[in-house]
Amino acid sequence: MDLEYGPEYDEFRSEVINFIKENEDVKVSGPMRDESRINWQQKLIDHGYFARSVPKEYGGYGGDMDIIKLRIIAEEFAKSPIPKAMGGQGIQMLVPTLLSLGTEEQKQQYIRPTLRGEMIWCQGYSEPNSGSDLASLQTKGELDGDEWVINGQKIWTSTAQLAQMCFILVRTEPDAPKHQGISYLLMPMDSEGIDRRPIKQMTGDSDFNELFLTDVRIPAENIVGKRGEGWQVANATLGHERGSLADPNVTQNRLNSLIDLMKTETIDGQRVIDKPIFRDRLLAIQGRLMAQQSNALRILSSQINEGQDATLAKFIVKLQGTELRHELEGLAIDAMGELGTLYEDSPHLRDHGAWQQTYMYYLGLIIGGGTNQIQKNIISERALGMPKEPKVQGA
């Protein structure tokens, strides 16, 4: 066991800390693609604090793939309230996919604007009848000359209302077994034949959508990987999504805000944090978070030390992280009591209603990205080696 990253990293860490100090007052605001966001994103890229290992020619920083440096950046940014780099499905899922499986043209065309936050993507995987059983998806893609013609329906497509592009799974080989008949396509959202209907969520926002696709034509070259290999391509990035839905560093940031909240809110003049019952709940959550952070270090270590296995450690991240986050937000509500139920534009509202909003949103993320029941199936079957449930004939 050696927790020192090494002296060369101390210097790097102080660089990061200095950068954060110098930029403490930076504010980004407005919708996605707002100039302030894009400028900040570019600044982070220029300093290597975002897209660090993405080659320069594709719009990244072009640094070495030094996971410890990435970790230091994440740690230091988590401690500070300065704006974080933009995320989203394009950045977290599509870019890694293109980097490993995309053609040179695709990398040239898509990675830079995606990293800068100018090009927003949505993920067209789920269908009304294919959620947990994603591989049963039925949206069709047929090659007609030099175009794919797409017909079908997608649902729960987050941020489709903002997106210019969609990475979509379609069935192109209807006669192949279900996992071998899918292809991974890149579909411009302004294509003709896309009818998008927003779906309102329990939070009151409408961040996800239904997409009705009728004879949508896209160029034949807009395929990542080979025909029929879309399932493997998608799986390469589902891992990225699951990790990013519940990053302990982000939760750390939220825990800091919760501590502040509990120091400010009072009951009969007494600070909530001074009430042992609430303080204990806070500390229990902190303990769980620390365990998850240690787990993240182990995953990190497995990435830089060949032969170290962290399979199980990785498989639990989404399950544990989303549950913890949901509970953390719930504690904030309890700490505020009745004030914690306030929403929208109510007087006395705290943090613009973010605690309630996020409490519900994380219930959504317990479901999204592969439900937590499916996560448990994965943990037991893939990491613990337990047998799969018997399959139903023909399914």
Binding site: M202, G269, G337, S346, P347, I366, I367, T371, Q373, N377
Partner: protein
Amino acid sequence: MYFGLSEEQKSLEENISKFLSDNAPLDTIKAVANGEEEKAEEIHKGIIELGLSGIMVPESYGGLELNMLFATVVSSALGSGTAPVPYIGAYVMAPLAISLAGDEDQKNEWLPKIAGGEKVIGVGLSEFVGAREDAGIEFDKGKVTGRSLFLIDGKNADAYLLANKSGELFLIDASSKGIKVTELVTVDKTRTSVELTLDKVDATLLPGTSDLSVIEKVLDAGRLMLSADTVGASQVMLDKAVAYSLERKQFGRLIGSFQAVKHMCAEMAAELEPCHSMIWHAAHSQDSSAEDARLMACQTKAHVSEVGKQVSKTATEVHGGMGFTDELGLHYWFKRIGLNRQLLGSPELIREEAGKLQGFDQ
């Protein structure tokens, strides 16, 4: 020995459920949540016709003089239907307080009108339970000054029943000078909430509230009603989850055939089933002035709130992405349970009180 609801209580519950399923289906609840207040007013009229405004009013003042167990049955049915109507404050806590502690004039003035559905009284005990935002009211020479948050049934009320920190209760006419009413917006759009700011407003003391016994009874009643509302709402969420699991197929199977889904439902049922008994028992303890009536009311509110939180989360999960949508509307129950949890004390605060009741703080 018979532990359970009487035929009369069961039929009351059925009547309310029938009324609500006929007159307040989900589309109507949605319309109310989106601001169509007239629709809520219609439902309110309907429950008055069912006699619900009079259940806690003594017969001699024109009411039905039913007991706490009946009131619990009603509250549970209203929670099941996420009914957008005044009840817990206006028709349980307020008439109880006035009957127990009002003088003859106050009783004559308010009780018949409550029973008849002519007057709604909003109830503000939050500051007695635990003051936030430095809220609180002072009573001096017939005038009340201060601030009260989260009045139950306080929107469009004709009068307010408020408590000061020492547990005295006051009635204020809503048309009096010096009152500012601010609407509070919570996640639960099936009920309303307001804040009052009071500047030397005329108030009359309920003379019987010089010791804590009355406010405690009123608080117990309110907490029991909130618990019953949560139990009713939770039961619906569980029922919906089971029903959905018998419709939805994935991997060529009904999702209800996955042990994971069965266990989620079984766990909800295992937690929730005793809560029905618990609210009846706690209500009966109030009715029979049992020695542990207060403790039961506290523990019921705290425990049911925890179970409700778990059930509302799990039932949503069983629905997958659908559970997270506005359209399915499951969230109306989810949010109602969420608000009930915080009103009149969150579980931690109430358990603290339960400890004190047993002298654990000595």
